[in-house]
């Protein structure tokens, strides 16, 4: 792992360029389409692009855990939902002008997105710290099942807690506000999501390239080796899990804003599966893979969903085909095997 950095690798360069070209093309299309749709007044397509972007952020978060850290979390809906509920609850108290809690110190709601994003990410970080601290004591198939079980626990908690809508969920009547720009405007909201997606990808890339990322990657490949080089794998993996959860939590907060609604479905295990689908369809460990995966998912849902209500059958078949026959996802098919750095 360390030795590859010194010598140039002329053989792999063209493939690397191809992936970079694919990345650039995908992002350019994702940016251009809503700009064009907005110019002809079709806000529907702008919102569709926002949805793709938000799902992609959630996927980038999970991809960091799976692709970099090898932690196959089947419970990322928990963080997606916590992000969403943070937005919903903050907006609810702001709208009703009530306090979230009075003891031991007063906390009121807010309609400021910047504050909500930070609170959502911090809460997701805390939840991931607790879930990760227990789940990461185990590995492999145990880890998958335990993360799934904890997400389910939060799901049932949301359903049986009547204050914030229980099974019916919670409506956000007015979209929360940002300083200077008008977040109510569909195109502006898309651009905000797009910038956050770029930031998430940037953070993920920088972390992967850092000493921490190298340690996390080694923890994925060979924990014993990491331990013998003097680094305890547990805190490294826990940190990676927390960062991954925080990114997915931000996506949840944006998803709630886009829909003007939060409900327990954001926390359901189907959602965890879907976030995983974004990652796999695009290609595990590929930085821009989740963007492709989310785009395919949303387009399949929208256009095949228009044609037949049984679109999930086709999604299932497509997913099965990708897993069985096209390892490496769409990015693997277009840009060849992942470069191993």
């Amino acid at each position: 792992m360390q030795q590859t950095d010194t010598a140039p690798k002329p053989v792999t360069m063209p493939k690397l360029n191809r992936e970079a070209m694919v990345n650039f093309t995908v992002m350019a299309i994702l940016l251009a389409l809503p700009l064009w749709a907005s110019s002809i007044g079709e806000d529907y397509y702008v919102n569709l692009a926002s949805l793709i972007t938000i799902f992609a952020i959630a996927g980038v978060g999970l991809n960091f855990a799976i692709g970099q850290g090898g932690m196959v979390s089947f419970g990322h809906a928990a963080f997606f939902g916590i992000g969403g509920y943070t937005t919903g609850i903050a907006a609810f108290h702001s709208f009703e002008e009530t306090l979230f809690m009075a003891m031991p110190f007063a906390v009121s709601g807010t309609n400021q997105m910047l504050i909500i994003w930070i609170v959502a990410m911090v809460l997701c970080g805390i939840a991931a710290l607790a879930i990760g601290a227990i789940s990461l004591r185990t590995e492999g198939v145990y880890f998958i099942m335990i993360t799934l079980a904890f997400a389910q626990m939060i799901y049932y908690f949301a359903i049986s807690w009547p204050t914030y809508g229980g099974e019916d969920g919670l409506s956000i009547y007015l979209r929360n506000e940002l300083p200077v720009v008008d977040a109510e405007n569909a195109l502006t909201f898309f651009l905000i999501c797009f910038i956050l997606l770029l930031s998430a990808i940037f953070v993920s890339a920088r972390l992967s390239g850092s000493r921490f990322g190298a340690a996390l990657g080694t923890a994925r490949m060979n924990e014993t080796r990491l331990a013998t080089s003097g680094i305890d794998p547990f805190p490294i993996k826990l940190t990676g899990f927390v960062i991954s959860a925080m990114i997915t939590g931000l996506a949840g907060a944006l998803f709630a804003e886009l829909n003007g609604f939060v409900g327990p479905s954001m926390l359901s295990w189907h959602r965890s599966g879907e976030i995983m689908v974004f990652v796999i369809l695009g290609g595990v460990g590929r930085l821009y893979g989740p963007v492709i995966g989310a785009a395919l998912f949303v387009l399949l849902e929208t256009y095949i969903g228009e044609w037949t209500q049984h679109w999930q059958l086709l999604l299932g078949l497509a997913l099965l085909g990708v897993v069985l026959f096209a390892r490496g996802g769409v990015m693997g098919m277009i840009a060849g095997r992942a470069r191993h750095d």
């Binding site: 799976i66 196959v72 089947f74 227990i134 004591r137 185990t138 492999g140 198939v141 145990y142 998958i144 099942m145 335990i146 799934l148 079980a149 904890f150 389910q152 626990m153 049932y156 908690f157 359903i159 049986s160 807690w161 009547p162 204050t163 295990w269 599966g273 995983m276 689908v277 796999i280 595990v284 049984h310 999930q312 059958l313 999604l315 299932g316 078949l317 997913l319 099965l320 897993v323 069985l324 390892r327």
Partner: protein
């Protein structure tokens, strides 16, 4: 709150736990022998229930339906094993999770296409529909007792099958060293198909038994599947004994928690908030228990590898 109420709730918890055991046994068997995590196990549970409901509607006989449900689930299991699951044994867990997640989507949507979204209802057969007086309980449904007995019978049969028969010997051999038993001339492919179909048949039985108690609908297997995961994580993956003890533990804690937690909380706080906090807390109870057990024993109570 009387001793009779507690006794009745313990029976209910036992019944719930044993239906979970039927799910968990198949999951843990498949994981132990083939190293496969199968999310579509809940779909096999659903297939069993739908086959049973359909055959019962057509023939009017619950017993034919029950047999059809078990056979239908076993057939569906053997089919997906040969078409899909077989290709996943050598893959990592991520691929297994995704492929079986895809199977869930296919099964759920396929069932919806055939039977529609409306739930089907399955009537309890007349012979089992009454109630019976037990010591301390005036009227306990016979059908629930039947479920308890049927599940216990399956547990005993499974134990005998695995510890006393030639097939069981091969299954155990496959658990410890699959290459060796293939080298000794055992047809490992067929063995895997049989094990998978066996797990599917037990899941189908669970689905038919519970289907008559509740309604038969798309998605009915998924909550049970996740609880079965909790069971085998607590019990230790690959251990059938662990699955039995884990499922009874979960059944009792969940059932008793839902009844008694709000009552206990009322001692400390007013009624309304005791009810809502009690409901929220008791729905989380088994997961908290799982967390507690894993904090002490990360590989479950009866890890088969030990």
């Amino acid at each position: 709150m009387t001793a009779a109420l507690i006794f009745e709730q313990i029976l209910n918890g036992l019944q719930f736990g044993l239906t979970l055991f039927l799910m968990a046994a198949g999951l843990t068997l498949v994981f132990g022998v083939m190293g496969l995590i199968n999310l579509a196990h809940g779909s096999l549970y659903m297939v069993g229930a739908f086959c049973c409901a359909w055959i019962t509607q057509q023939t009017g006989s619950f017993w034919l339906g029950l047999g059809g449900g078990v056979l239908g689930a076993a057939a569906a299991g053997a089919l997906i094993e040969m078409l899909v699951i077989r290709r996943l044994y050598d893959r990592d867990h991520l691929d297994q999770v995704l492929a079986t997640f895809a199977l869930i989507l296919i099964f759920s949507e396929g069932t919806r296409m055939v039977f529609g979204s409306m739930p089907l209802y399955l009537n309890i057969p007349e012979a089992l529909s009454g109630t019976v007086a037990l010591p301390g309980v005036e009227a306990y449904p016979i059908y629930r007792l039947f479920i308890i007995l049927a599940a216990l019978a399956v547990a005993v049969l499974l134990y005998l099958l695995i510890s006393k028969t030639r097939l069981g010997m091969r299954i155990r051999a496959g658990e410890s060293d699959r290459e060796m038993i293939a080298a000794l001339g055992v047809d490992i492919k067929t063995l895997y198909t049989i094990v998978f179909a066996l797990g599917a048949a037990i899941a189908g039985l669970s689905g038919t038994l519970v289907g008559a108690l509740r309604s038969v609908q798309v998605g009915m297997g998924e909550p049970v599947l996740i609880l079965a995961f909790v069971v085998i994580v607590i019990g230790g993956i690959g251990s059938i004994k662990g699955a039995l003890i884990g499922s009874i533990l979960i059944g009792l804690v969940d059932t008793l928690g839902r009844i008694f937690l709000p009552i206990i909380l009322k001692v400390f706080m007013e009624n309304a908030s005791a009810n809502s906090i009690g409901a929220a807390l008791s729905s989380m109870l088994i997961y908290l228990m799982m967390a507690g057990i894993l904090a002490v024993k990360p590989k479950g109570l009866f890890n088969a590898a030990n």
